[in-house]
Amino acid sequence: MSKARARAHDDGGYGLDQLELGIVPAGADDSDASSRAEFFARAVVAGGALVAGGVLVAGFPRLAASAPSAAQDKKILNFALLLEYIEAGFYAEAFAKGKLSGELQEYVSIVRRHEQAHVAFLKSALGKNARKKPTLSFGETTSDPAKFTAAAIALEETIIGAYNGQAANLTKPTLAMAAQIVSVEARHAGWIRAIAGENPAPNATDEPKTATQVQSAVNRTGFVRSS
């Protein structure tokens, strides 16, 4: 990779050979970035349990990529609602505990309202079909700044992948609404990563995650006690 990088710097043109500089290195050699924060966040995202004793989330919809339909939209929106419940609950608790300061405090005070708005929006879209809020437990992730940061990154990354993964399974009107939410989640991810000294946008695309991948990511957090 270092060879590709060296060559890439020789030419800033648009040739296809530019691609190999693409993306990989974005920020990889920023020695000024906080490697500790980066390592910590990565470790958590990669699979450490954030809270011990969570239950496995059941009831994730089986989302085969069948033709979009109103019925399938409902399943997907309920899937999104669970994720938004977790985010909203996480930020609300962190805000209420009041242990965060500075940039993190500013972040949580603004982002919590967005997630509450997303929950309210999805609930109203689903009406009586809306799932119930699960029992949640966040442990020290809502009071310890480093744990909070790692958990926020994990949650935001998961939900971006979740929305992107379902985009093509939604009917067009519902997709148009979901697109207004996912970029806000992406902004949150960029914001909290910037605060943490991590590259806010390490890749050229945010890869879609399947419902199964999202479920695993949620289970790894241990945040959900009953669904």
């Binding site: 890439a8 800033g12 043109g13 648009y14 296809l16 530019q18 691609l19 190999e20 500089l21 693409g22 993306i23 990989v24 290195p25 974005a26 920020g27 920023d30 990529a65 603004i110 309202r113 967005h114 708005a117 997303h118 929006f121 971006i160 929305y163 992107n164 993964g165 985009a167 093509a168 399974n169 067009k172 009107p173 997709l175 148009a176 697109a179 207004q180 939410i181 996912v182 970029s183 806000v184 992406a186 902004r187 949150h188 991810a189 960029g190 914001w191 990563r193 910037a194 605060i195 590259n199 806010p200 946008a201 390490p202 890749n203 050229a204 695309t205 945010d206 890869e207 879609p208 399947t210």
Partner: protein, 236 residues
């Protein structure tokens, strides 16, 4: 797209792993498209680029809707603009301080978007226009303000097109570029000291509005400028 008879490729699922696990697409691409697209695919094995490969699949099927071609070309013009902006800033080397790595980091991503969309469009791709950035690529404050504006605009532009895209594979690729543009917007806003996420819902911008905004910048020019307005700086 090309008038050549392409092999058809049916996409049953959007998961990328399925797209080219065995390299079959890659080989087919090399056969029908010659060196260019094959080189792109061969070198795309970098972070986040797997999805960009999805952009090439519809071309293989030879059945891309004309409206999807138009949307891709529209996206390409915006990516050309962003890529040229960051690339010029990187070349000039005048951006300093905490902004110093930004032209290289974002330029790399926007150039990857350009390359992927061009590869998807093949012969149908619009040409890269000439740009004159009027000094904003060599002044920290102007550079950052322009970056914020470009990234917010790109996110809004992709968003408004998402529901208009017919091909599921193109949609998956476009929506996954869309959220990266939103990350960039938040990042640039963070550096500029403005709220990275200003509201709970991001609004899209229709093509007419986006084009009017781009036109108002006068960054896109009919002909390349013939002489640099600035003297070259000695950089040792």
């Amino acid at each position: 797209m090309s008038a050549k008879k392409h092999e058809t490729h049916t996409m049953s699922e959007l998961t990328l792993g399925k797209l080219d696990r065995d390299g079959a697409i890659r080989e087919a691409v090399a056969r029908v498209s010659g060196d260019t697209r094959a080189r792109f695919l061969g070198k795309a094995a970098v972070g986040g680029a797997a999805l960009l490969e999805a952009l090439t699949a519809p071309a293989l099927a030879g059945a891309t809707a004309s409206s999807d071609v138009a949307i891709l070309n529209y996206a390409l013009t915006l990516e050309y603009l962003q890529a040229a902006f960051y690339t010029e800033a990187e070349r000039l080397g005048a951006i300093r301080g905490e902004l110093k790595p930004i032209p290289r980091q974002l330029g790399a991503v926007e150039r990857a978007h350009v390359a992927a969309i061009r590869a998807a469009l093949g012969q149908a791709a619009v040409k890269r226009p000439a740009f004159d950035f009027r000094g904003v690529t060599e002044d920290d404050t102007k550079f950052l303000k322009t970056a914020v504006a470009f990234e917010d605009l790109a996110a809004a532009a992709y968003k408004a097109q998402a529901a208009r895209i017919k091909s599921a594979a193109l949609l998956a690729a476009a929506i996954s570029i869309h959220s990266v543009e939103a990350r960039h917007a938040a990042w640039m806003r963070f550096l500029a000291g403005v709220t990275p996420a200003a509201s709970a819902f991001d609004q899209g911008k229709p093509i007419s509005e986006v084009k009017a905004i781009v036109a108002s910048t006068h960054f896109v020019v009919a002909h390349p400028k013939m002489a640099s307005r600035k003297n070259p700086t000695y950089k040792g």
